[in-house]
Amino acid sequence: MLVDWIKDVDAALETAKSQNKPVLIDFSAAPA
């Protein structure tokens, strides 16, 4: 399953708040 990753942290937090959804942040150092 493909994940539609968001790249803007503040936009993600704002959307989560407005849609009442939790946020998952993946901090990675893996090669692209």
Partner: protein, 130 residues
């Protein structure tokens, strides 16, 4: 709401959220408060179980006892042993929170003693055993 932060592209986010190791996963509630943190690699079944625990914690901290209990119940049967023990403990706490009946704690202590006698969660439940 999945958000990806790469150390080369988003170093400021690492600092902002105190991510000092990779991989680190944060589970945050809709208000942006961190509720669960996973640090270090895990195989898929363990990772999924920890993510579920994070979602359960979000529900728990929002006092959605029934929602949290359902998630903990599904994790109580997990093949990720320490996750299952933790889930049994918190499932009992949800039951107590929703009923205010302390007798719901005793069966959880018994289950932990039988299934996970060496776990930290069994030790934490010892006061419930009697």
């Amino acid at each position: 709401m999945p958000l990806e932060a790469h150390i080369k592209e988003h170093a400021a986010w690492f600092k902002r959220f105190d991510a000092v190791w990779t991989p680190t996963i944060l589970v945050m509630d809709p208000a942006g408060t961190e509720r669960y943190r996973i640090e270090g690699y895990l195989p898929l079944n363990w990772f999924r179980a920890r993510l579920e625990m994070g979602l359960a914690r979000v529900a728990f901290m929002r006092k959605k006892w029934s929602d949290a209990e359902k998630l903990y119940t599904s994790m109580a049967g997990s093949d990720a042993g320490s996750v299952a023990a933790e889930a049994i403990y918190w499932r009992a706490v949800c039951q107590y929170k929703s009923t205010n009946d302390h007798t719901v704690l005793t069966p959880a202590a018994q289950e932990l003693s039988e299934r996970y006698p060496r776990s930290e969660w069994k030790l934490k439940s010892d006061p419930w055993a009697h």
